[in-house]
């Protein structure tokens, strides 16, 4: 008799149970769904969910299932027709309250969703969608900083009444200020040092006049570049949200690249237009002397004012003169001010002095923040604002607040909700910087091709499995069956790991699974061949089984590690789909080693190991 520790059997049972559970969500398929997110970016509440569902039901639309996921409400339907009907009902019934996105969601039962079980996430080449890679002009971002430094210095020089011959930047990291005399240079330099002690300021008093050179340190340049990329990511995230895409990915890649993935989007041009839009801000005083509604109905604004609209369409009259515009904004963040949500804004010197002056004169009066967006639109595309050729400019009042005190470069915008504050800070930051973005890579996969790719991959996988099954049973008989069961558990465990890690599965990833199927039986083949050899050498069946597993171990380990090395390197250097292949290949090696060495041993033990009298083994040897 062949003994085997009981804990290993239990380990296998537990791993298989957990693995099956994790892999289970993949068998339910997908159903058409609507994803609703609130326009004001608050989370959808259970009451609102109830309301939407009952509205739909009262209109005769059957909702298969509805649940909250993150901030969104997901409504699942039986077929595409019902979904379209439901979309119309939602859009008519609630107006602009919700952003509605079409998507396909897994048909997993509620209890599985509740404990966080998800099916594998499919890559763009399988579900269709758009992939963009942007390159951020980080050099441009630094140039912008230098330009605003230039104008700040000019303002400072004028204010301090220091005569100067010129202020110029080299566009890389230096601003040079030419002055009339060496004394002036010294004075200005000490002013600059006082204002920002981190600045590297050099004074040159040789010759007739004097000059001051301000140089950004490499750290400062890098900070600025990181800042630019971070802001652009924020901007792109906002824009992507605006597109109503479900499960989008916006991520930094490498030094100056941003990757955007939009599953389910089939027209890259619409996405490109929205993502490529540039936004900025203006601060204006509100004209509270005149009636905005009247101005709207007569379509005539009073002298010195201009008619604007808030985001929800209410008319507002604002003064024509801008206090501060987006180029003067250097930073924005959200937080709390005396328990109230607030947005903290930082202006440059010019903006700050203008703001100081304006607020001093207009205490207690309302000020408005106008959000201006420029988009590239095609000839036939609608433009909500004013259009000039292919450029569409949209302006909206995003915030109005009363001026409660005098402020300069740093101030808060209060009177907003907490998530509005966050949003506003995001928008302000997004609008304050437009480091140019260039598309360097773009891939689009149509939904029909995605479905075809899945079908092809699954066909190849099933065929590969079936052929391997037949091969193994014919050659190794009962042991071949064991190998096949082990192979199946290997596929299940691989699916479980992929579902758990939520690594996106691409077509090369499926190819990796197919290849793993072919290679995973190798471990069992090594073991079985070894058992056969030991039997030929006259060993008893029980001893042969033990020896087979033990002696095959070093070959299995060594050979798998070399493939694992290739997999890990591929993962490190690969991008996109190739990376998916590497993940599957590496995980497949891990699962196949476990299943071949542990699971198959447990199976062999349960089948043959406990038989007291074992004359021969059904391992396909001719006797």
């Amino acid at each position: 008799m062949h003994s085997y520790p009981a804990w290993k059997i239990w380990l296998v049972v537990i791993v298989l149970l957990v693995g099956t559970l994790l892999a289970l969500p993949n068998v339910f398929g997908e159903a058409p769904a609507l994803q609703l997110s609130r326009n004001d970016r608050t989370a959808v509440t259970a009451a609102q969910q109830q309301q939407v569902v009952s509205t739909l039901q009262s209109r005769g639309v059957t909702v298969d299932s509805s649940y909250l996921e993150g901030d969104r409400l997901v409504l699942r339907f039986d077929d595409v027709g019902t979904r379209l009907k439901a979309r119309d009902v939602v859009q008519q019934g609630t107006g602009t309250e919700y952003l509605v996105a079409l998507s396909d969601v897994p048909r997993t039962p509620a209890w599985m969703r509740a404990i966080g079980l998800k099916p594998m996430s499919l890559g763009l080449d399988l579900r269709g969608g758009v992939y963009f890679m942007y390159e951020v002009d980080t050099q441009g971002a630094v140039k912008q900083l230098l330009t605003s430094m230039e104008s700040d210095y000019r303002t400072m020089l004028r204010k301090e009444r220091i005569p100067f011959t010129g202020v110029a930047s080299d566009g890389v990291d230096t601003v040079r200020i030419g002055l009339r005399s060496g004394d002036d240079a010294q004075r200005f330099a000490s002013l600059l040092r006082k204002q920002d002690p981190n600045l590297s300021v050099d004074v040159d008093t040789l010759g007739e006049g004097g000059s001051v050179t301000v140089t950004l340190s490499p750290t400062q340049v890098k900070q600025r570049q990181d800042f630019a990329i971070q802001q652009n990511i924020t901007t792109l995230r906002n824009r992507v949200d605006e597109l109503g895409v479900t499960e989008p990915i916006v991520a930094r890649q490498g030094l100056d690249r941003i990757v955007v993935q939009l599953p389910g989007v089939s027209d890259p041009n619409e996405a490109l237009r929205v993502l490529g839009a540039t936004a900025t801000l203006e601060f204006r005083l509100v004209d509270d002397q005149n009636d905005a509604l009247l101005a709207e109905s007569t379509r005539r604004a009073p002298l010195g004012s201009k008619l604007y609209h808030t985001r929800d369409g209410r008319p507002v009259l604002l003064k024509r003169e801008t206090i501060v515009s987006g180029e003067q904004l250097t930073d924005a963040s959200s937080g709390f001010q005396q328990g109230e949500p607030a947005v903290m804004v930082t202006l440059d010197a010019r903006g700050a002095s203008k703001m100081l002056e304006t607020t001093r004169q207009n205490l207690g009066r309302p000020m408005a923040v106008v959000f201006i967006e420029k988009k590239r639109v095609a000839e036939d595309q609608p433009c909500k604002g004013t259009r000039a050729g292919n450029e569409c400019t949209e302006e909206a009042v995003i915030n109005q607040a009363t001026i409660r005190g005098v402020f300069g470069s740093n101030f808060q915008i209060t009177g907003v909700m907490a998530n509005e504050a966050r949003e506003l800070a995001l928008l302000l930051r997004a609008g304050s910087l437009a480091a140019p973005l260039y598309i360097v890579e773009q891939r689009t996969v149509g939904p029909s091709l995605g479905a075809d790719n899945i079908r092809r991959g699954v066909n190849a996988l099933v065929l590969g499995l079936v052929v391997t099954f037949i091969f193994m049973v014919v050659y190794y008989q009962a042991f071949g069956m064991v190998a096949n069961v082990v192979l199946l558990t290997n596929v299940v465990l691989l699916a479980a790991l992929l579902s758990m890690l939520q690594a996106s599965l691409s077509l090369p990833g499926i190819a990796g699974i197919v290849l793993t199927v072919g290679m995973a039986v190798d471990a069992n083949i090594l073991i079985f061949e070894r058992i056969r050899e030991e039997l030929r050498n006259g060993m008893s069946p029980h001893a042969a089984i033990g020896a087979g597993f033990d002696k095959a171990f070093s070959a299995i380990a060594d050979s798998n590690i070399t493939t694992l090395i290739a997999g890990v390197v591929l993962f490190t250097f690969g991008t996109g789909p190739v990376r998916g292949f590497a993940v599957v290949l590496s995980l497949g090696i891990v699962t196949s080693m476990f299943t071949a060495l542990v699971v198959s041993r447990v199976l062999v033990h349960l089948l043959w190991g406990r038989q007291r009298k074992l004359e021969k083994l059904a391992i396909g040897m001719g006797y």
């Binding site: 773009q442 190819a511 290849l515 090395i565 250097f573 292949f581």
Partner: protein, 311 residues
């Protein structure tokens, strides 16, 4: 079922010189083809625009070409893709134009002459990104070699290590040669397949080496050639079984995986054949000619251990 009822004893190593010549000719041929024709790199590496379109009926490639020519894209490559209804248009990036617009214009040009065309896939890769992907690919191959070499060196012995590495170099060269001769598109998945082949080929080699190491310890009397032959013979049915199952699944990919995986599955198919061959006739044979002996593989007796055991 058994391939070999009795223990086989094919004298593999006796004919190795002949196979060296065969390998050398094949490697030279592959290198010549690479030098003369080069690889037909996909846009992953060159940058450019690829449009995959599906026509309602079998596509008339000439018509597509002429409508592209009319629109000023005479040098675009038009080929059918898998089925007669699917067409692939490939073009290199134009300097100074927005490649994203280029894709749209090309589509418009084709649609004007061929109504009902459905765009299935577009890929626009900037030239710089292509160059980076190529660079990363080359680095990946180098690092794979480096780490695997390191591992084989540590686990086995340098003579076996040299054999394994030469075999692992031999296989990708064969695949690249095939791609150069057929001018099949060499894309990112094909590169991934080459790395997988390096892993697979070593996998095969290591199994044989593992047996060689074991046999050298037990067969003290045999010559190195006899030991290596015995090892190869003993692992022969395993080699045939594993190569067959892997081959069958890869063939399933080749025939059912679609055009996008064509390069990938082709590279793997060749790789499995060549990898199996090279682990016998390149890796093991080289180790033999480097005068691999039992002494190379015996565990080294460290004098220090003896000292440690003293009270």
């Amino acid at each position: 079922m058994e391939f070999f009822r009795k223990k086989t004893s094919y004298p593999f190593m006796a004919t190795r010189k002949r196979w060296y010549v065969v390998s050398a000719i094949l490697v030279l041929g592959a290198l010549l083809a690479l030098g003369a024709r080069g690889l037909n790199f996909g846009i992953d590496f060159t940058g450019g625009v690829v449009l995959e379109m599906s026509f309602p009926q079998a596509a008339d490639l000439e018509k597509v070409r002429s409508s592209l020519k009319k629109a000023g894209y005479g040098d675009a490559v038009v080929q059918s893709f898998g089925t007669p209804r699917d067409v692939l248009v490939r073009m290199l990036p134009e300097a100074g134009t927005d490649n994203n617009l280029l894709g749209q214009k090309v589509l418009a040009a084709i649609q004007s002459g061929n109504p009902g065309v459905e765009l299935r896939r577009t890929e626009v890769v900037g030239g710089q990104v292509g160059a980076e992907l190529a660079e990363k690919g080359a680095l990946a191959v180098l690092f794979t070699f480096f780490f695997i070499m390191l591992y084989v060196w540590m686990r086995f012995q340098w003579k076996l290590g040299v054999g394994a590495i030469v075999a692992a170099l031999h296989d990708p060269v064969m695949i690249l040669g095939f791609f150069a001769i057929t001018q099949m598109t060499f894309d990112l998945p094909a590169l991934a397949a080459i790395l997988a082949v390096i892993g697979y080929s070593l996998n095969d080699t290591v199994v044989v080496f593992d047996r060689i190491r074991e046999r050298f310890m037990s067969m003290r009397k045999g010559t190195s050639e006899q030991v290596i032959d015995a090892s190869i013979n003993e692992t022969l049915s395993r080699t045939i079984m594993t190569s067959s199952t892997t081959m069958l699944t890869v063939l399933a990919l080749l025939f059912f995986g679609g055009e996008i995986l064509r390069g990938f599955s082709t590279a793997l198919t060749i790789g499995i054949v060549v990898g199996t061959y090279s682990s016998i006739y390149v890796a093991s044979a080289l180790a033999l000619d480097l005068k691999l002996t039992a002494r190379d593989l015996l565990p080294v007796q460290k004098e220090k251990d003896a000292v440690d055991d003293m009270p």
